[in-house]
Symmetry: C2
Subunit: 339 residues, 2 copies
């Protein structure tokens, strides 16, 4: 077998899933876990005594450029990890780690600006970095800077939220406009300005998630990062063995993102958001959860976008207003180094 790694293996789609099966799921037998590796959720959950479990999540960040409209790699690293903890129901991070791989020749001020941004994002999230690592690679051996952040939190036993928890009848809520991070970053890379209205949505949303969980029964959550909304909805449907119906016009998309997406030939549903949550909510609680989300400026565009159905299992059907079609996850290379 002489297959080589391509950008598709890092794009969040089917080829990444195959690679992760080969290099991880097949290697690591499931230890005693509430949510183990094989669940491929946003993080793992393991019991530590009768009353508590530990939630762990990790992401390496290789975004380019390092500083982009609306954020930078430091804000992205902290927000991404805080949000993956929150997606498991762990809205109070206990510890974050910060591991830097820096190319020799990088100005020290670049690293300092990035870590100041990490601190600011930590303050927003009520998180702190407790330990880290610093490695240097030679000039030309690494493009500038990569940051791994790992997050750890403790939740009451059974207090976690899996991404596989949807039941028929649940409503699907999206907490904000979709596609902002991916479309903004790509337009910046391509040198388009689009009137300066586009910027990444990168932000920690653990407070928003906490408000939602306090307002009603959240049955499943996922942050639509690589692969965007289309990918996570399909994952949530297939993991829970249910169908999902989505009404296209209910999904919040900003005007600039929509126009820029058309020019760039990119679907806002297919690209990364970095400050948005997709959640399943028990139907009787959907209105309360929506109100709770909208009470927070980060959730002012929140909307009920669809519901879970006992039909087309594992598939997402989009009502476009003109008809119904499957909403498939994007495949292939997509956008390298978006996060």
């Amino acid at each position: 077998d002489d297959e080589v790694i391509t950008h598709a293996h890092g794009a969040g789609g089917g080829q990444m899933t195959e690679l992760v099966d080969a290099v991880a799921v097949s290697q690591f037998a499931d230890a005693a876990a509430d949510v183990g590796l094989a669940a491929l959720d946003d993080g793992s959950v393991q019991p530590i005594d009768d009353d508590h479990s530990v939630v762990v999540t990790t992401d390496s960040h290789v975004v380019t450029p390092l500083f982009f409209r609306g954020g930078d790699i430091g804000r992205l690293a902290v927000s991404g990890t805080v949000n993956d903890l929150a997606m498991m129901g762990a809205t109070e991070p206990l510890a974050l780690t910060s591991s830097l791989i820096i190319e020799a020749g990088t100005p020290q001020t670049t690293v300092e600006r990035v870590t100041e941004s990490m601190r600011e994002a930590c303050e927003e999230a009520g998180a702190t970095v407790t330990t880290g690592d610093t490695k240097v690679m030679g000039s030309g051996e690494m493009d500038t800077l990569a940051i791994n952040t790992t997050g750890v939190a403790v939740v009451p036993k059974g207090g976690h939220v899996p991404d596989a928890g949807l039941s028929v009848g649940d409503r699907l809520i999206v907490s904000g406009t979709v596609g902002d991070h991916g479309i903004s970053l790509l337009s910046e890379r391509e040198g388009f300005d689009f009137g300066g209205d586009l910027e990444s949505d990168v932000q920690p949303v653990n407070d928003l998630v906490r408000a939602a969980m306090d307002a009603g029964e959240v049955t499943a959550m996922k942050d639509p990062t690589r692969g965007g909304l289309a990918t996570v909805l399909n994952e949530m449907a297939s993991k829970a063995d249910v169908g999902i119906d989505v009404e296209e016009r209910s999904v919040p998309v900003s005007g600039p993102v929509s126009s820029a997406g058309e020019v760039l030939g990119i679907e806002p549903f297919d690209v990364a958001c970095e400050g948005v949550v997709v959640m399943g909510v028990a139907s009787e609680d959907a209105a309360d959860v929506l109100d709770a989300l909208r009470d927070n400026p980060k959730g002012e565009d929140a909307a009920i976008v669809g519901e879970v159905v006992d039909d087309h299992t594992g598939q997402v059907v989009l009502d476009t207003g003109f008809g119904r079609r499957y909403l498939s996850p994007p495949e292939g290379e997509q956008l390298p180094r978006i996060c």
Copy 2:
């Protein structure tokens, strides 16, 4: 300020400490912690209730070549993180994370071999990977493969061991021969064979540490990775505000490592070990702890190498057999990408 990052910033010495002060210690105020970021220990320790604390540690691995005599980057990543947990007294890892950054064009079989090696090391250590991440960078943007592993464990409150815990009178024990990883890797890079007797010592030593802790009072621990034995002894002395006396001929160094070090012009005390522990032990327990270490094949070369003294505070004095001199930590670039 237009300082740029150099290999010295990743070498484990004074310039790395300055960088870490600037980018981390100065940014992250100490959260409630038994061992916080500012302690610059092998990991952090934070209370989660009256009875338990969570230990977290992280390292990114960028070693080159990926496969070297005695191990590979996968074995190194798992061992390094298991060992940093063990250095905090946490000998039962609860969860490891595995985050891969892969250069496009890398054969998938390379990644598979590395992750098989991770699994083997996990089995040796009684550890398991519960979650991870996979990112792809473009060809030429990253040299082949970097792996971040983060480790999490729960210890009884107060059951952790800081690196700053030495007291006057404690004995210093080294659990095995020093310099093997660094000297072996460097000789391989330089194309020297030295009769094939050199290989990395990379291995998880949490079992060895557990045996030592069960046999007597271990007051401080550190694994002599970047910067080697000379660096960690100086750190332990200055953190505890004590002096350390070491007898050179008691420090275990293998014949091949000693000869190769001479040819290469490298001190075995100055380079990384990846399967060795340096520990302070209460004097009355030193013989028992030594016996316990030697009972395990990984500790068969263990030796008492010196003691903690109320003199030359923060300094390490080496008795060479011909006289006494300060043992200083190595400074400067040293060996890039050794771990």
